[in-house]
Symmetry: C2
Subunit: 326 residues, 2 copies
């Protein structure tokens, strides 16, 4: 069968593709393992730096264009990982673009699956941003959604659509609500949470990083390794195990910025910390403060999904995966 | 200023228009009372049976057509009451129509307001159907949304859009979650809750009515009189009083079908009951069972919104409003 990954040029999309190539199989629409014949990486820019594998197809196009989705998703598509998104800070700054990619593209993707009638598994990535500041204490999977950003609103809407399309049997959806991913490789992006990777990544590379929030700011984090693992494990879950809700809050760890930097020092010594500069950004502070800093992960754990053990482990994994020669 | 009512040919839309004509004023975007110069009743069929008042304009067209919305809503529009909807049973049977009217039209309406830049007050009617069966016990305003119907999904999405458009200052939105309205005048419709009016209305008119659910089925009800009152009171609330959420669960009363029929007998004697026939409809039973039968109305009450005192009062109001000569 074929697998489609939107946002396929992003670092999670590419990592997921590599992991799937290594596995060679995924559960098909009937749940039984099927050989992956092709992985289609859809993104507005061409996915680069991938191995020369005949199973990979790079499709460059706008994920909110029905023709691109029709090209990417066909009758042989058993699984769609929908990772494409306009990140939080960007969707707040560009309302129309966020609506187009985070809402319209998600709906068009579901409509394409409905039109095919093949009921593929669809794994959506959603976000802690769906909750908003209305949630006090640890949020549960069933805590009410009161997003305080356009990004969170658009993700919450996509969740509702995925649930209804699943209930009606148009797709077999799973919505994985991701913590903030840290440590992302590469460069800063327009996510309000970009600093959560930058304050570790840049100092380890000897580059200055500006922290826009105070040291007591708490974040809910998951490493790229564990995120990929959770996306695949979430895909492989039996629909019956999900019960009435398609949403799963992925496990993570709750850490403050100060604790993150202390872990960096424990793992890499005191030198990197000299590259962290503090400069408050009220917009980022407001957005980050609207996210809950922890959530109740009993549902994810009962479903067999695992987070990281500590932020020290996350820093070590980043160094192993990105800074050491293969 | 101008007022727009979508679903203006429906019974709530027409009653609201009559009430507004009588009042003559509504709070403007700045909250101060403004004279109503015009009321535009938009609906796919022409609103009929209205008084000959120069302030009324009947606009017949598709509320999901941007040109119709652009015609209806202009720079002088201070208030929009968005009542147009495809009802629950209909949206379940016709998925595409429900998406078009309940979701697309709501979004296009908000987009029209955004394009004008005039920040009108927008009153949305939403529904108990947004909750779904995940809610046990009395639902609160902040109980999580887990709709189990496409109608509930579409309404939940429209709520999220209204909240984000309000947060960004594009509109000043208020989302009034209506209980099942009973007793509606007129004929049965495609709402799964149609019987909640039919089992009272038809017997009072000497016509047979089929009850598709069992006598123990509990409903959460509001009379048309109180619904109109709540829509206007909700419109007049100061935005600051709403706090972080734009959603208000309107007050209602929790009654079983058996209790409704007992009230009918108390008010109108035993004769009408002979016109009720019982015949189970599994689809209606499933949809109605997915709605909570009661909710916590402390927020609405704190905001000054009032429901009915008893179902006996509701039956008496129906007889006064619809069956007695004016």
């Amino acid at each position: 069968m074929n697998v489609v990954i939107t946002g396929g040029a992003g670092f999670l999309g590419k990592r997921l593709a590599l992991e799937l190539l290594g596995r060679g199989t995924l559960g098909g629409p009937d749940g039984r393992p099927r050989t992956i014949e092709r992985i289609v990486l859809v993104d507005v820019v061409a996915a680069e730096g991938l191995p020369d594998d005949p199973r990979l197809r790079v499709l460059t196009g706008d994920v909110a264009d029905p023709a691109v989705l029709a090209d990417a998703i066909d009758a042989d598509t058993g699984s769609v990982f929908h990772l494409a998104a306009i990140v939080s800070g960007h969707a707040e700054a560009d309302f129309e673009l966020g609506m187009r990619i985070n809402l319209d593209a998600s709906r068009l993707l579901l409509e394409r699956c409905r039109a095919l009638g093949t009921r593929p598994r669809v794994v959506f990535t959603s976000s802690v941003a769906v909750y908003g500041s209305a949630a006090s204490g640890a949020v549960r999977d069933d805590t009410t959604l009161a997003p305080q950003t356009s990004y969170g609103t658009q993700k919450a809407i996509a969740e509702l659509l995925l649930a209804d399309y699943s209930r009606r049997g148009f797709v077999d959806g799973r919505c994985m609500r991701l913590p903030t991913i840290s440590v992302r490789p590469g460069k800063p992006n327009k996510a309000a949470s970009s600093f959560a990777s930058g304050i570790i990544r840049e100092p380890l590379n000897g580059v200055e990083s500006v922290c826009p929030v105070g040291p007591d700011t708490r974040l809910w984090l998951l490493s790229p390794r564990r995120a990929i693992r959770c996306l695949i494990d979430g895909h492989e879950l039996d629909a019956a195990a999900l019960g009435a809700s398609r949403n799963i809050n992925m496990p993570g760890i709750s850490v403050s910025v100060a604790e993150m930097l202390a872990a960096l020092e424990r793992v890499a010594g005191p030198a990197p910390l000299r590259h962290v500069r503090w400069s408050s950004d009220p917009l980022v502070e407001r957005i980050v403060a609207s996210w809950p800093a922890a959530w109740d992960t009993r549902r994810a754990e009962a479903l067999g999904l695992e987070g990281d053990a500590s932020f020290d482990e996350i820093v070590r994994a980043y160094i192993e995966d990105e800074l050491q020669p293969a």
